[in-house]
């Protein structure tokens, strides 16, 4: 089994891309395309200035990490409606809690699919319970020991950011 640091960058990109694609295709019947970003674009996409829903699920085991999924409020509501078979008015009536729960589940499935691929590569780990942040003017900082990888995906006219923060297990 290689050390986590030895896994090539391309493997992470491929693994998270496959996870996002599988979840959105299966649960929402939507196609997903990876959108490459340069360092400046990456930094810019993590600084939020419009209402966003940010959902996170962690994994603990041979690798410890967190994955944050960022999506704009309106897109989050649209995804929730699509997944639950509700129209825009019904989602509005159901409230933010329903959207939070649906986005939490999308994140749970995405991180689950990502970490299951890692588990099968020899890095077994377990999922944590999802948590949700909402806001329009905040930035998530990573701890210094963590390796951060940020990926952008296009889903129709909308964007999804996947922010991976990972570190090897403490000895």
């Amino acid at each position: 089994m290689p050390a986590i640091q030895e896994i090539p960058e391309a493997v992470f990109q491929e693994t998270i891309t496959r996870a996002v694609q599988e979840v959105f295709k299966t649960m929402l019947n939507q196609n997903v395309t990876h959108v490459p970003m340069n360092a400046e674009e990456t930094k810019a996409c993590l600084g939020l200035d419009t209402p966003h829903v940010v959902s996170t699920v962690g994994f603990i085991g041979s690798i410890n990490g967190l994955i944050y999924l960022y999506m704009q409020d309106a897109f989050a509501a649209q995804c929730a409606g699509n997944m639950l078979g509700m129209d825009a008015a019904e989602i509005k009536e159901a409230g933010d809690e329903t959207v939070n729960d649906a986005i939490g589940e999308i994140t749970n499935m995405t991180v689950g699919t990502f970490k299951n691929q890692l588990s099968d590569k020899g890095f077994p780990c377990k999922l944590t319970i999802p948590s949700i942040l909402r806001g329009s003017n905040f930035q998530i900082e990573s701890i210094t020991a963590a390796t951060r990888r940020t990926y952008k995906f296009a889903i129709g006219p909308n964007s999804l950011i996947a922010d991976l923060l990972m570190q090897p297990p403490s000895e």
Binding site: N108, D120, L127
Partner: protein, 381 residues
């Protein structure tokens, strides 16, 4: 009996998706948000199957599963894990505790229904106990036959019915068709290559949408071996080639449990009219005989006190028809329903040849018969 499916997941979203997936099936969905709630519900309700998540607060799915399997009452309830935890090691560990199946999220609703349907006998919700479908209601029939002439013969023969007859030439097309259309009856040619008719039969029977759909085998009359095999595997019926359309129509109607009584019986103001067709086959006799008591009772119940047996189209009288008519007459007499016959000169002549019918008299039309019955009712006792 409505099945109970217990869904244990901390995500309300997943519980809603599960409810949505099973809303077309005759089952109740119970919900628990963690292992503690799940165990309490399992004890109280004894569900027929449990869909269990792994990662949950308070008590996770592994702990709940372990406790279930340790309980002598609950241990036999089948459990399907429905979880984002899909690493091989994890799956193996859970499989050792004892689960019937394992679905890794994300999942399609169809897959979930299919897997549950393999464990419990899920049935689609029907409109029952609404009125039974009648012979005059539309239905969709699928003919799986690689010989276009046979399909054309069936389609042409049934074109007087309200049924839509669709034809496909291969099993793949049939599976696609059944996937996107609600089919009321399937006819499969048993002479499709490589015994694929039997493979298709099995596929249709494992699919919840077609699990209870009547399936007929189409086979040459002399191919007894294929007919026996079809009966053994559970085909609903056999239609033999060359195809006798009227026989096929009757078999199809019977298999679809259609009410064919409207072909023969109608209530017209104060009159119950029973009409027989030109050719009275044994099938017709069976059908009519089966309906007589119910139809007479129904007529009396709705205030009708006269009946007409309209035989003017019947070409020939025989003992089977006579027996059926005698039954009808006896049934009418039992409830004091006056009756009269409408016929033709051939029937009148035929009647002279039988002891039971020698004195039968026929009116020329239903209007005449009605008038006759009215006079009879007005006559002094």
């Amino acid at each position: 009996m409505r099945y109970k499916i217990l869904s244990v997941d901390d995500s309300k979203t997943v519980r809603i998706i599960i409810k949505k997936a099973f809303k077309l099936y005759d089952c109740d969905i119970l919900e628990g948000a963690n292992g503690v709630e799940g165990l309490a519900l399992a004890t109280k309700e004894t569900p027929d199957i449990i869909l269990l998540d792994v990662t949950m607060p308070v008590m996770d799915g592994v702990e709940m599963l372990t406790k279930l399997k340790a309980d002598p009452v609950l241990k036999s309830i089948p459990v399907i894990m429905l979880t984002a935890e899909g690493g091989k090691e994890h799956v193996l560990k859970i499989a050792k505790i004892g689960v019937r199946d394992y679905i890794v999220k994300p999942f399609k609703e169809e897959l979930l229904v299919q897997k549950v349907g393999r464990i419990i006998d899920l049935k689609p919700i029907t409109d029952a106990p609404a009125k039974a479908k009648s012979i005059f209601d539309p239905a969709t029939l699928l003919v799986v036959e690689d010989k276009p002439a046979i399909f054309a013969q069936i389609q042409e023969g049934l074109k007087h019915t309200p049924w839509q007859v669709h034809g496909v030439a291969s099993t793949g097309e049939a599976i696609d068709f059944c996937g996107r259309t609600a089919v009321d009856l399937v006819m499969i040619s048993l002479s499709l290559p490589d015994e694929s008719a039997f493979t298709l039969f099995r596929v249709l029977r494992t699919n919840l949408k077609t699990k209870y759909t009547p399936i007929f085998g189409l086979v040459v009359k002399t191919d007894v071996a294929a007919q026996q095999m079809a009966q053994q595997v559970g085909f609903t019926g056999i239609a033999t080639k060359p195809i006798d359309i009227s026989e096929l129509e009757s078999k199809v109607a019977k298999a679809m449990n259609l009410d064919t009584s409207l072909r023969y019986f109608k209530n017209e103001s104060d009159l119950l009219i029973m009409s027989l067709p030109e050719v009275v086959t044994p099938t017709v006799i069976n059908e009519v005989t089966g309906y007589i008591k119910g139809k007479v009772a129904e007529a009396v119940d709705s205030g009708i006190n006269k009946a007409v047996f309209d035989l003017h189209e019947v070409k020939r009288l025989d003992m089977n028809i006579i027996k059926m008519l005698l039954t009808a007459m006896q049934t009418c007499r039992e409830v004091a329903l006056q009756y009269s016959l409408v016929g033709n000169s051939t029937l009148l002549a035929d009647c002279k040849g039988y002891e039971d019918t020698r004195n039968w008299q026929f009116h020329d039309s239903i209007a005449d018969a009605r008038q006759g019955l009215q006079k009879l009712a007005g006559a002094p006792a």
